[in-house]
């Protein structure tokens, strides 16, 4: 069976690409430290020597729209184009292209459906920065095939937080039951406290540092019980109007497992939002 080589949870900050590729005289003052932290985080994936990446993210009204909105969707295609005109326009992100790992997509869909998760699928999916940002930060050579998994954290009515955790658990089971000798890393990105298009946006730090500290503690310690006891669809409005993206972190806690302490934790307090980086090695840290 396939081996779960690493579980990685991260924020996805669309400004990283521009900040990290700007000439030194034009780079923002926080860029050098940001690059250092990202390169250190990247090493945690490199060391795991993955062959395949399962990428959990959320479409930001690019291909998925309100006339036909899936809650959880698995890409099932040989190839994926990526990034959109408005992401080039606002963030300077490049157009990208990725190979798909179709047999793993098919395995996840068939067995996920049989495990009572009514997953939607797409045979032609153009993916967005929720998946390409972690490729840029963690695997910039973009040389590995992927299985994209999209969650709806964006267009209410949303699934309950516990469903994200449950899906994470199922994804882990399905990766570990995939008849293959490949090493799989599951990478998911979300947000800590975040406000977009509201009065608390683009402040000197994230809109709710207290929530961020608590969230980092939950994730670092795999404290699903504590997290699920406090986080509800309603409660997530308080830290910032885009904080429902935290549920993708909860999904990744489900992949990592109850009380699984992260092997690597780092954060970076930026303007607008806090960056947070976590890695687990379910089968022990690589040598």
């Amino acid at each position: 069976m396939a081996e779960l080589a690493a579980v990685i949870a991260s924020t996805h900050h669309p400004f990283y690409y521009k900040a990290s590729t700007a000439p030194p005289d034009q780079a923002p003052p926080f860029a050098a430290e940001w690059v250092r932290k990202v390169e250190s985080f990247r090493e945690t994936l490199t060391r795991a020597e993955p062959d395949v990446l399962v990428m959990v993210g959320s479409d930001h009204f690019h291909q998925l729209w309100l006339d036909n909105m899936p809650q959880f969707l698995v890409g099932n295609a040989e190839e994926y184009d990526a990034n959109w005109y408005n992401e080039e326009r606002e963030f300077g992100l490049p157009r990208m292209h990725m190979r798909g790992q179709r047999d793993l997509s098919t395995h996840i869909l068939r067995n996920g459906l049989d495990a009572d998760f009514d997953l939607a699928f797409s045979n032609e999916l153009r993916i967005d920065h929720s998946v390409t940002c972690p490729i840029i930060t963690l695997r910039p050579q973009n040389d590995l095939p992927i299985v994209p998994v999209y969650t709806n954290i964006f267009a209410p009515p949303l699934p309950q937080p516990k469903r994200f955790v449950q899906l994470g658990r199922v994804i882990r089971q399905l990766v570990e039951s995939w008849p293959s000798d490949q090493r799989v890393a599951v990478i998911g990105t979300g947000h800590l406290s975040l406000e977009l298009g509201g009065p608390r946006q683009f402040g000197p730090h994230g809109p709710d540092p207290e929530f961020d500290a608590k969230a980092v503690d939950w994730i670092s310690n795999g404290d699903l019980e504590g997290c699920l006891s406090e986080v509800t669809l309603d409660s997530l409005h308080a830290p910032g109007n885009a904080t429902h993206g935290f549920m993708d972190f909860m999904l990744m806690m489900g992949v990592a497992g109850e009380n699984a302490k992260a092997d690597y934790v780092d954060t970076y307090d930026l303007f607008h939002t806090m960056e947070a980086y976590f890695t687990w090695y379910p089968n022990g840290a690589p040598a």
């Binding site: 309100l66 006339d67 036909n68 606002e90 209410p156 977009l196 298009g197 509201g198 402040g203």
Partner: protein, 120 residues
């Protein structure tokens, strides 16, 4: 109340560079044209299979025609759609990095929790 239609306007304009410019330059004319010609087009269907029933409420039409993003926020338009499109139209008018984004936050400072429901 047709939050969905307001969102559909923001979504379809935002993804078309020519429409972004047209809406910046002529908001009233663009909204009139869009409501007449585009509001009922189902996005993955041919125009012979369009809807027949979608129209803006008067306050929604007015807010879009006057680029009134605080009003759009108050009526529960999706804040990500509004922000993204308005950055595309107006960030260029500010010299400082994030100048428009911070002005946007200031204009919304009157709002406190709970914000308008964005469920469609």
């Amino acid at each position: 109340m047709s939050k969905y239609l307001v969102n559909k306007f923001l979504f379809t304009v935002d993804r078309d560079p020519a429409l972004v410019e047209r809406y910046r330059d002529d908001p009233r004319g663009t909204v009139e044209w869009w409501e007449a010609e585009r509001a009922n087009v189902i996005l993955n269907c041919t125009t012979t299979e369009s809807s027949t029933w979608l129209r803006f409420d008067d306050d929604e039409r007015d807010a879009l025609m006057t680029h009134d993003y605080p009003a759009l926020f108050a009526m529960g338009a999706h804040p990500f759609l509004t922000l993204t499109l308005f950055i595309a139209m107006f960030e260029r008018d500010y010299d400082e990095p994030l100048g428009f984004q911070l002005e946007y936050a200031r204009k919304l400072a009157q709002f406190s929790l709970p914000y308008a429901d964005i469920t469609t």
